[in-house]
Amino acid sequence: MGLIDRLFKDPAWGVHPDDHKRPAADQPLRVLPPPARLYMPLQQHVGGAARPVVQVGEKVLKGQLLAAAQGNISAPVHSPVSGQVVAIGEVTAPHPSGLGFTAITLESDFAERWIDADAVADPFSLAPEEITRRTAAAGVVGLGGATFPSAVKFVLGQRLKVATLIVNGGECEPYLSSDDRLMRDRASEVVDGARIVMHAIGATQVLVGIENNKPEAIAAMQLAAAPFAEVNICPVPARYPMGSDKQLIQTLTGREVPADARAAEVGVLVHNVSTCAAVHQAVRLGRPLVERIVTVNGGAVREPGNVFAPLGTLVDELLAFCGLHEAPSRLILGGPMMGSPLAHGKIPLVKGASGILAFDAREATIPPAGPCIRCGSCTRACPMGLLPLEMAARIRHDKFDEAAALMLGDCISCGCCAWVCPSHIPLVQYFSHAKGELSARERTRLRNDASRRLAEARVLRLEREAREKAEAALRRKAERAAAKAAAERQETPGETV
């Protein structure tokens, strides 16, 4: 049977790192009591930053709108606690650059008073547009890490008439188990959310892809999905990066997403399990996205596990809650393969943060990079079928266009190549650098084009003004001459008649 073969044969791409998911994944979910101060960033998603709608000093309830979406691709931000707005200012962003961004600082009153929820008893009676609107208003974004506003994807799915919703429970990054924990503890919410999303995009079936290293989650999800024929739980081989949407789509449907196309163009839409649970919360319970499950793991953590924490909590508070053996040698937001290194722990938890990793000295060691020995391991590992060694050699010499010709743009920065590299070459950093340079050049090019148009428009304007001035001068001259002639006529009426 072709499908079974496809599902259980190990794919040719990818890597299989030690997953380090247990024992953290098996620990019961803990709830973080609301911290005294929270920092709610205005930009926790792809697209335009949200615009604050509260004043400093204003009292807010849990779930109250703090900042409204701005622009076509954006998402609003809500208060994760009840309390007071104490400041709107700059905090360090969870970003490798360590640059700052704007956040709303809240002081918790520990009362946890929610806003009046606009719950819907039967979301399937709502029009898809209404579900999209409610999802957008709740600030739901892709919680797998991409943080693309989910409602925008719904609209895309409706427009392209997507038939299949794929729910991504792959969670292939080592150390992370927040989706695993969610599926074990709240499988019915995930399934309900997935069915709401399916209704919103007009799809006819749901495929939930779960890596086969999470048998408990598969069992829980199968139980929750049993009453619904359209929801299929599909165990997939545990292989990094199975949680990347292109790889999951290919494994589940056999369809390959073309290089410059989106998943919706091959008739599927991918949403993360956490996103589905958030849609369930948003539509069925009327609760905006203000909390999430986050994995706290790594060698420096005393009690690794999953924590249900309000967004905006500082990383330091989460680490203190779980305890530390030692000062972490490296902090990472997200997984070890694709996460962002954090400079310090005074950084707020954002919507896309599925894990906080505090590595001890042994885990944090990065061996020094050696020269490339052309073993080709990276080309075998690359899930996108690229040639990492060739691209890196060109980027090393700043030949970004040649790297782009080798389809650098298809690189998903999964880190497989760097992980397998026996010379420990930081390949992904090369690619990130080149992608940044290429987009900077594209911006410069667009800017130059725009300024050329402006310069041409200015030349035209100057010409027009000069012409108008000359015409006006001629006209005045003619008027003066006419007036003069008329005056002469009036002075000597006898002669002209």
Partner: protein, 175 residues
């Protein structure tokens, strides 16, 4: 001896005549890559290269009289593109690419004289007489024409701040 002189002279004359005819048929009026080079330049006619405008700069480039690194607004990327087009090696160490810059008005010094507005090649300065001027950041090319014109030194070039969207991963140090 006369045969030798005569034959060499004849050969020279014949080949010269042939080449003369060929030159007439294969004549190239203008340097055809000039137009192409001009389209690569920013076209804001800012004059920072020392030529009157981008057309003159392109002509000088086509005659190999100007270095490919002549255009400060185009930066490193343009220098590389020009070098590739002209088939020369660019000495990029000479390019001081300390990032893009924008003009900025110090609001407490600006007297609203409108002189900067008149010289801006992209109409990026807005304002009216006796009103504080302002720079439209999206239109400013950072050419600096307004800096020299400002009587009160209210205009200054400031680096474009690096934001999360514009930050670039540094290139790994080569082992």
């Amino acid at each position: 001896m006369w045969v030798a002189i005569g034959s060499l002279t004849l050969m020279g004359l014949a080949l010269g005549a042939l080449l003369g005819v060929a030159a007439r048929y294969l004549a190239v009026e203008e340097n055809p890559i000039e137009a192409e080079l001009q389209s690569m330049l920013p076209g804001s006619q800012c004059g920072q290269c020392g030529y009157v405008g981008c057309a003159q700069a392109a002509a000088a480039l086509a005659r190999h009289e100007a270095p490919v690194t002549l255009c400060p607004p185009g930066g490193r990327a343009l220098a590389e593109a020009l070098a590739a087009r002209l088939g020369v090696k660019a000495d990029l160490s000479q390019v001081v690419d300390d990032g893009p810059k924008l003009a900025q008005v110090s609001e407490d010094i600006c007297i609203g004289c409108c002189r900067c507005i008149k010289v801006c090649p992209t109409d990026a300065v807005i304002g009216a007489p006796k009103q504080i001027h302002n720079v439209i950041r999206d239109a400013c090319t950072g050419c600096g024409a307004c800096i020299e014109r400002c009587p009160t030194e209210a205009m200054a070039l400031v680096p474009v701040p690096v934001t999360l969207q514009h930050w670039i991963w540094p290139k790994p140090a080569i082992a």
